[in-house]
């Protein structure tokens, strides 16, 4: 899932060792109800923003080398990713009827027995649809959402240009966040390939993802003791 990949990437970039564990009740263990979260000693921190701050308080930061204007830019781009990419992913997962029926409901409800799986899935769907309505996305068609994704990818692609990372030589939390989302989009199987096609149109973005995957994830695979499900679900951009 995009946030897990983003946080894993961020921690790898900080050179902090991380072990990935999959649990069905993860949402309930998390202090904010959101996954993923990290468990360090006796502290539990969830979501990318607080994790970045937690890690910074422990003395690791990726964005110290940026000046004030660059930090403002970085935060703005992170909001762009949250505003457009994340909302588009949620829309596709929960508001597009075909995807909901074939993929999301079965996947979300899989750890639970019937009828709990259906009830929880519908509850989550209703919650997400309410949110979409509040921010004005309920009236959007699939084409409009895909167009928004395209616009967002175009902006990211133009900002990245030919540099290795968004702020030239050093990766920052923005790189981790963008990687998380794009990697998930490129590797998740949906009913249509339109979403991943939109991203693939931008060569520098796919090259960016591949580069981060190679640099931060290839060597660490054997250290990760995930469950069998996680291992079989491991995907790669390099096939």
């Amino acid at each position: 899932m995009p946030k897990s990949q983003a946080i894993q990437a961020f921690l790898q970039m900080c050179n902090l060792p991380v072990r990935v564990v999959c649990r069905a009740n993860a949402e309930y263990m998390s202090p904010s109800g959101k996954v993923p979260f990290i468990h360090v000693g006796n502290q539990v921190v969830s979501e990318l923003g607080p994790i970045v701050q937690f890690v910074k308080a422990k003395g690791h930061s990726l964005s110290d080398g940026l000046d004030e204007v660059q930090k403002a830019e970085m935060k703005a781009y992170m909001e762009l990713v949250n505003n457009m990419l994340l909302t588009a992913e949620l829309y596709l997962q929960w508001c597009d009827d075909v995807t909901v029926e074939e993929i999301t409901h079965p996947r979300y409800g899989s750890p639970y027995p019937w009828p709990l799986n259906r009830i929880l899935a519908y509850q989550k769907q209703w919650e997400i649809r309410r949110k979409m309505k509040a921010i004005g996305w309920a009236g959007k068609s699939l084409e409009q959402v895909l167009e928004d994704v395209d616009q967002c990818c175009q902006a990211l692609s133009q900002r990245l240009g030919t540099q290795p990372y968004f702020f030239n030589k050093q990766p920052t939390e923005l790189d981790a966040l963008v990687f998380g989302h794009l990697f998930t989009i490129l590797t998740t199987q949906l009913t249509t390939d339109e979403l991943s096609e939109k991203v693939k149109n931008y060569g520098n973005l796919t090259a960016f993802c591949r580069r981060i995957e190679q640099q931060y994830f290839e060597g660490h695979d054997k250290d990760n003791s995930g469950t069998a499900a996680a291992r079989s679900a491991k995907r790669s951009l390099l096939r």
Partner: protein, 312 residues
């Protein structure tokens, strides 16, 4: 371009052409790009606001959200972002997302949720501009929608009570204002000397916070500590909306002003052309006079920044 365009939006007060951030954004963009819009402010007549506001009506097309309205204006060749590079265009999108995620919740809260503000200022103002009996119902509905939006987007755990959510959104808004101030620095506009889409959005969101007199004003106080943002709003109000900083707006002069602006632009263009012609004649008198077609092309190329000549 010849089709008349009409914009329906909320009116203004306290020195602003409109109190509504989205309406203000569209109005500012129209001024920056030179689009001839007839602005109809919603008032106490029987024509009630239907659906989203602002709404642009051009011949048979009806367009309702600011982003879509701006796209439409761009397609009609009113493009304020003509001179931006690709990266600057990308930055525009990013900063607009920042405004919507971090500043908008606090703005909505100040206007529609904070009880003292809503009861003493917002509700009476909007109710006076909506015909009875809708005036009893519509402001309440807008308030509920604002609270809903804030809670659904910002209100999940670990923030369990409304006070915690409020504290968080104001923290985010103040941080957003700081970031905008750092980004603006000492320049006149966000991308140099000509205003663009981003300036329209920032102005649309900041000006209501800056100017409207509420009883509870923590966001306004924070904004007043950022003098470059205040100067940015005041500049746009004086240059583009012909309003003095103290807030007296000449009544019913919008069309006259627009015409005057157009006339001044034309005269400026003409005099520039004449100057150029003189220069050419002086430099190489034996060259045959330029064909009229080339002169027209030159005039077209200058259209991209006509407002440059007007800004003081």
């Amino acid at each position: 371009m010849a089709a008349p365009m009409e914009l329906s939006c909320w009116g203004g007060d306290w020195g602003l052409p409109s109190l509504h951030p989205e309406s203000l954004t569209v109005m500012a963009y129209a001024k920056f790009s030179g689009a001839p819009l007839t602005v109809n402010t919603i008032n106490n007549s029987w024509r009630t606001p239907k659906g989203d506001v602002p709404v642009l009506i051009s011949e048979d097309t009806v367009i309702s959200q600011p982003a879509k309205i701006l796209n439409f204006l761009r397609k009609q060749k009113y493009n304020a972002d003509y001179e931006l590079s690709a990266k600057q265009g990308a930055d525009t999108l990013a900063y607009i997302a920042l405004l919507e995620e971090k500043l908008l919740p606090a703005l909505l809260h100040t206007f529609w949720v904070e009880a003292e503000n809503y009861c003493s200022v917002t509700k009476p103002w909007f109710a006076s501009r909506i015909p009875f009996p809708l005036s009893l119902y519509l402001p309440g509905k807008m308030s509920r929608e604002a609270l809903n939006r804030i809670l659904l987007t910002k209100g999940g755990p670990p923030l369990y009570s409304l006070t915690e959510v409020e504290a968080q959104i104001y923290r985010d808004a103040k941080e957003c204002l700081n970031l905008l101030s750092k980004r603006l620095g000492t320049s006149q506009f966000f991308f140099g000397n000509t205003p663009t889409t981003l300036d329209a959005f920032v102005f649309g969101f900041l000006a209501p916070v800056y100017k409207v007199c509420f009883p509870r004003v923590q966001l306004q106080e924070h904004l007043k500590q950022l003098p470059n943002l205040c100067r940015f709003c005041d500049d746009i109000l004086t240059c583009y909306f012909r309003l003095t900083v103290s807030g007296h707006s000449p009544s019913g002069q919008d069309t006259a002003d627009a015409n005057l602006q157009k006339l001044t632009q034309l005269v400026n263009k003409e005099s520039n052309l004449i100057e150029k012609m003189d220069d050419n004649l002086r430099k190489s008198p034996q060259h045959p006079p330029r064909k009229l077609t080339t002169l027209k092309l030159a005039a077209g190329g200058e259209e991209s920044s006509p407002l440059n000549r007007l800004s003081p």
